[in-house]
Every structure is written in structure tokens, then in C-alpha cells.
Symmetry: D2
Subunit: 147 residues, 4 copies
């Protein structure tokens, strides 16, 4: 039996765009660092959707008895972005463990390859008791295309 | 039997302050109008606390079978405030109906009587079916001091 | 000379969608009323873009010496929306005065005609001294298609 | 000439509290990870104020020709906090370099020593050209009490 990669994403990278909105900047018109983390969560949501997963049933799923909280997040901000700009987010799974997923994010101008910011977010699978548990099989298959 | 006013608040007005934070402004350093609505909600929370009510059991209370969603909100912005400023919020109940409460907010500089912004928020009591219901008696008493 | 209507928008109504994001809800999964005002600002931005105006040169324009702050905003929330839902925003200019624009917003489910929320936002034109001034002619033409 | 430590903060640790507000949670009532980064910025602001520095003249100072953007941020979330809770933030300078400051944050329940979350934020001094420059002497003295 051979493992087969069937990811719905080309090369495992998901691309989406985000517009810098009026409330996303600091008082000087530069994207507030906190907004990048908000964009990262949005990137995860779109990544999940691209894999056929509904975010609202994935971050917490009472029926299936699991949650998927973010337990660690990191970003480095290389160049400032301004109000009104359109950013391209490239999202991929950096690492998939038995009980955890690490997403990696890169931010670029809409067109261009200059890295504006990069980051990671670690999600762990927990049960109703908030203790770690293996990632639901359904999720792993949807995210990796590997059965 | 005489009705007695026992409000925990002097003249029914609650005062609290809010600092304009880094993420609260627009790209030009002026408070983003949306932030005022966030401040209004905070003012309601502090008003409730001053009346001995826990917000986390008041906006939604599964045990007692009620919710208290905001169904209407309005603000007028008279003068701009800037990043770093300390605002004084004066909050009062403008009207108490059988099924609804209307809060009124006024924003001033920390010291000074120049009205910076004003607004209202209408909350209605609903049951678990999201239909209107009378305000819980416990709430009315706590908010007005009238038994 | 006849006045000619050339609005870039069909019937003067601009449609766009907004996804309810993870950070947009209250602790009970329902859209936080403050988020609607954020959506309203985004709707104005998209309206401006559809008329060929760049928001980042329209809300404040140092070169041309004007600003366009929001001086009043109002929303009524009719039915709750939940995390993950896609909302359709219909935006139009309710009134255009010499020195002010009033935008009107309506929120619907992505498909469907059930009004979820509605609101207005009043913008006034000001000069560098923060005093009212007539709307720049360029803006009026772009927004109405009337020369 | 002896160097003298005169920090305005006892042991160099600044304590402040933050209330988990209605808009700070995820749809399940747990603090949204993005909110912690917002709290971190607030902790920096209060740290600066405790050292006699006005944040609105410290993150960007046109007169003195410097800015102090956050170029990296990280948080680990150990235990969930809920809507309405009061968190104690302990903030300190983890490292002070020639051109950079690294702040460290710890979040605890209002009373109690259980670590809820921890994080860091790296700030670098830049000139008007956005290139790195040494930290202004005035800042270093105010933050460390060392002349």
C-alpha cells in the first residue's frame, strides 16, 4: 500500500490576499503588529476552507469532542505596510505532529517577492477536558491528502 | 408602600476612564470611530459592575434563561481624540422599559467639560428562543435601586 | 446643458461580502455589534474604490487640503450572525449635501433577502483647520457621476 | 564615576492588570490569541509611563528623529482565560542592546502564580530613513535608571 499525496493545494501552499483596513494600522498609518496575527488566523481559516474543512467545525467541534487552540504564535516584521495596501499571504503547514500542527505564514506585496513579514502558529488538538489528544484522522487526511 | 431609590450610583451617572491605545486610532492618529463603540460596551460593563452585576452573567445567562443583546447603537463624534489621551466616560440609563434598557454615553477629556462624543446603546431582554421577554426583576432592581 | 448620471454603480448600490472572522464575535459566537461598524467602514472603502477613488487619499488628503471624518454612525441589529457566515453588504449614498455625505448600509445573508442589520454613517468635509468646507468637486463627481 | 541603578521599577518588573473585554474573546468565550498581543502592547505603554516616558513620543518621535517599531513578537498560551477575568501582567526588559529592546511579558490570574501566557516583543530604534540607529540616550536612561 503506497501513501499517496492528494493535497488540494499546489505544493501545499495556499495563497490569499488581505487588504490593510482603516482600523488595522497604528497611529502613524503603518500596519499595527497585532493586525498581522489577525491576518494569520484568517490565513488559517482560508487554508482550512481550501482543504474542504469548515473553520467553525474545526477550531472547536463539540460533536467530535475536540478543540484546536493556538498555543504559540510568532511573527517577524521586516518591512512596513501601509493603510490601503493589498498583501499576499502564503500559508503552508510547516510541521504536522501526532497532536499538533504548525502553520507558517509569509506576507508579500500583492505583486512582488519582497518578504514583508513571516510567522508561525502552533495548534494542538485537545479533548473536552482540555488535555492533549491525537489530531482527528479526518483532519489529517483533509490537510495532507495522505490516507 | 413607597418606592425607594437606592441606586448605587450618585445621580445614576457612572464615571470611568479609558486610555486611547495604539490600536484604537485611524492611520492619522485620531480615534477610529469604531473604537468609541468598543468603549461604550466597556462603559456598560463597568456600569453593571458598579451595580453589583457581573457582565459575564448579564449579557447572557443560561441558568436564568435570558440574554441581553445590543439591538441598536448610535454615536456622534464632536471633536477628535488622539493616541495616548485619557477619556472620561459618563454613563447613565437614559430609559428603562419593560423589555429594554437604553444606555447613554458621554465622552469628555480626563479633566474638562468639553463634550468629545456621545452615544446610546439599546439592549433588549430575550429568552432562549431569541424572542423578547420582560427584563429579569433582579436586573431592574440592581440597575435602578427601586424595588 | 443637461446633467447626466454616470454612476459607476448600478442603481447607485454597491454590493460586497464580508466573512465573519474568529475575532469578530462576542463570547457566545454571535457577531459583536462593534464589528458591524468595522464592516460599515470597509463597505465605504469598497464603495469609494468602485467609484475610482482611493480610500487612502479620500479620508484624508493633505495635498488637496481636506479630510472626511465620520461624525455620526448608527446601526440597528435585527438578527444575529455567527462565526463563519458570509454576509452581503449593500451600500448606497442616502444623502449628499454640500458639505456632507450620508452612507446607508444593509446586511443580508450571502444569499437571501432577510435584513440582518442596517446602518448609516455621516461623513463631513473639513479643511486642515478641522472646520467644515464644501465637498471637493472631484469627489462629488466621482461618487454621483453627475457633472 | 560609578554607574548607578535607579530604575523607577522595583526589581525592574512592572505590574499592571487588564480586564478581558467582550470583544477580546473567540466565539467560545476564551481569550482570542490575538488579544494577548494587544495586551502586550498595552503593557509596554504602561511600562514606559512608569519610567516617565510618554508612549506617544516614544514609539515615534519626529522632533528627535527616531522611531521604535516592534520587529518581532512571540507568545505562548498555556491556559485559557475567559471573558470577564482580570489578568495581571508582569513586564520587564529581558535584554537591552545598542539598537534594540526586548520586552518580556507574563500573564497571571489577578491573584495567583499560575502562568497563563508569556511572550516577548523586540523593538528596534530606527531613524527617519527606517534604518537602524542606536537607542536614544534619553530612553536608555529612563528605562534602566543607569546613567
Amino acid at each position: 500500500m503506497t501513501r499517496q499525496r492528494n493535497s488540494p493545494l499546489e505544493d501545499g501552499v495556499h495563497c490569499t490576499t488581505v487588504r490593510v483596513r482603516f482600523g488595522d494600522t497604528d497611529p502613524y498609518g503603518i500596519v499595527y503588529f497585532v493586525s498581522y496575527f489577525r491576518y494569520c488566523h484568517r490565513a488559517i481559516e482560508e487554508y482550512l476552507r481550501a482543504c474542504g474543512l469548515r473553520p467553525e467545525e474545526t477550531f472547536k467541534n463539540v460533536q467530535e469532542g475536540f478543540g484546536l487552540p493556538i498555543v504559540e504564535a510568532w511573527c517577524r516584521f521586516r518591512r512596513p505596510s501601509k493603510y490601503g495596501e493589498l498583501l499576499r499571504m502564503e500559508t503552508q503547514i510547516q510541521e504536522m505532529r501526532a497532536k499538533a500542527i504548525i502553520f507558517r505564514f509569509e506576507f508579500y506585496p500583492e505583486t512582488g517577492r519582497e518578504l514583508l513579514a513571516e510567522g508561525t502558529a502552533n495548534l494542538v488538538a485537545i479533548g473536552p477536558d482540555w488535555r492533549g489528544r491525537p489530531l482527528p484522522e479526518r483532519l489529517k487526511i483533509a490537510l495532507t491528502g495522505i490516507e
